[in-house]
């Protein structure tokens, strides 16, 4: 019994801190907004030009001029500000966003990330992912541990990179890994999901990793 998508999002929410400005990717990362602890001030950034956004609108209150980066209708809150795409990515590239949580196809033990293209398939584009991983202070990947029994945590990514040496933490359905991307200390398994075992993780992980003493 591993973590569900919701539980992975709940675990990712533990990386939030009071006062953080956070960018959430599409998919499981979007669910993280449901687990912001009560009383904690977290402002969500949407790279199409909005800082501080609220939940989806009620029917009849949707506004075509008010969308998030997934092109979904959202709402304004009391802390909202709007800005251009250039200002938005100045925020991102300039290191003013504290945390980016996003999905991935592959992560390597040195922090390399691949999540934007599969050669030979129709490529849709990288959107803002390359800028986010290059500029945001802390990058957390939330993904399934393996895809159709193919490991996703690898020694080296085989898919084209979104960023080289950019990932700080990986949360999968089986556990949590940290990556010492700057210090070159490699990858460390720091938590197991309930029911997951070290043996199962070893079998489903190609990357080499340390195991934290607490485990």
């Amino acid at each position: 019994m591993a973590w569900t998508r919701e539980q992975m999002a709940e675990r990712a929410a533990k990386e939030l801190r009071d006062g953080f400005y956070v960018n959430l990717g599409i998919g499981i990362p979007t669910l993280v907004s449901n687990y912001i602890p009560r009383g904690m001030s977290v402002q969500l950034q949407s790279e199409n030009g909005m800082l501080g956004f609220g939940p989806f609108p009620y029917e009849g209150e949707e506004d075509p001029d008010l969308i998030n980066a997934g092109k979904q209708t959202v709402t304004e809150i009391s802390t909202t500000s709007y800005f251009s795409s250039a200002d938005s990515f100045a925020m991102i590239r300039g290191g003013h966003i504290d945390l980016s949580i996003l999905g991935a196809m592959q992560v390597a033990e040195n922090g390399d990330l691949a999540n934007w293209m599969i050669p030979g398939k129709m490529v849709k584009g990288m959107g803002g992912a390359m800028d986010l991983v290059a500029g945001v202070k802390k990058v957390v990947v939330v993904m399934e541990h393996s895809a159709k029994n193919e490991p996703k945590l690898l020694k080296n990514c085989t898919l084209p990179l979104t960023g080289a040496g950019v990932v700080d933490m990986v949360i999968t359905d089986l556990g949590v890994f940290t990556i010492d991307k700057k210090g070159g200390g490699g990858m460390t398994l720091i938590e197991l999901a309930p029911g997951a075992t070290l043996d199962e993780i070893r079998a489903k992980t190609q990357a080499s990793y340390h195991i934290a003493n607490v485990l």
Partner: protein, 242 residues
């Protein structure tokens, strides 16, 4: 100088030619200059290189110019949700240059600001950096990206005065302000047209010197790409969620 034109066709008259580069504002279908896009379709101009974050969807926005086969090349960050795009691309009829979204935004900003190139961390160590000059600053690797200037920029604004001072609304701002600065000629379609003095100067986002032509589009239809809603919970005591 009269900047206000009676309709989108007139606003683009004399500006369009084959093989030109056009920047088009918008993110998804939000803040797109759709009436100007329709006028470009009607002009029949072809072999266009279009700089825009996305390429509309089938039959809407820039998807219209794909359907009419007027686009030769797109410079974009994301072109999903568009079957026509995929078909033309896979058939070799359409070129695409993917730029990371922030790099695209900054290339346009730089172009408009007279900056021919800049260095960014974005894409360092990826295939985006291949063939580009790279330098190390303070121990980190950076990629050189070029500023972009277009023959024509088309933008959508919420409000303008007849001098071309522009105000955008909510997330419909997106790429429009930078693109307004980076066109050799910039044409804006605006939902509300005011007289000078009617917009608080503190609220103007794009000063009028960037805008050569304006067209008033009071009845522009706006599109929603992903209508996402939350359920309305009935007032306390009635006990029903609808």
């Amino acid at each position: 100088m009269q900047k206000v034109y009676p309709d989108p066709r007139a606003a683009l008259a004399g500006l369009l030619r084959d093989d030109m580069m056009i920047m088009a504002g918008g993110f998804g279908l939000c803040g797109i200059p759709e009436q100007l896009i329709l006028a470009i379709r009607d002009s029949g101009v072809k072999n266009l290189t279009v700089v825009s974050n996305n390429c509309g969807i089938d039959g809407v926005g820039l998807g219209i110019l794909l359907a009419s086969r007027q686009i030769k090349k797109m410079i974009s960050s994301y072109v999903g949700e568009n079957k026509t795009f995929a078909q033309q691309y896979l058939a070799g009829e359409l070129e695409i240059e993917f730029n990371p979204q922030g790099t695209l935004a900054e290339r346009i900003r730089a172009g408009g600001a007279g900056i021919p190139a800049f260095f960014t961390r974005t894409g360092a160590g990826t295939q985006i950096a291949e063939g580009k000059e790279q330098r190390e600053f303070d121990g980190n690797r950076y990629v050189m990206e070029r500023g972009l200037i277009a023959d024509l920029s088309i933008v959508h604004a919420w409000m303008a005065d007849t001098e071309g001072n522009l105000v955008y609304r909510k997330t419909a701002r997106n790429f429009n302000p930078m693109m307004a600065t980076a066109g050799k000629v910039t044409v804006a379609e605006v939902e509300h047209l005011m007289q000078p003095g009617q917009i608080n100067p503190d609220h103007i986002i794009t000063p009028g010197l960037y805008v050569q032509r304006l067209v008033h589009v009071p009845n522009a239809v706006k599109h929603i790409e992903q209508r996402t809603l939350r359920k309305r919970t009935a007032p306390a005591g009635t006990g029903e969620e609808v």
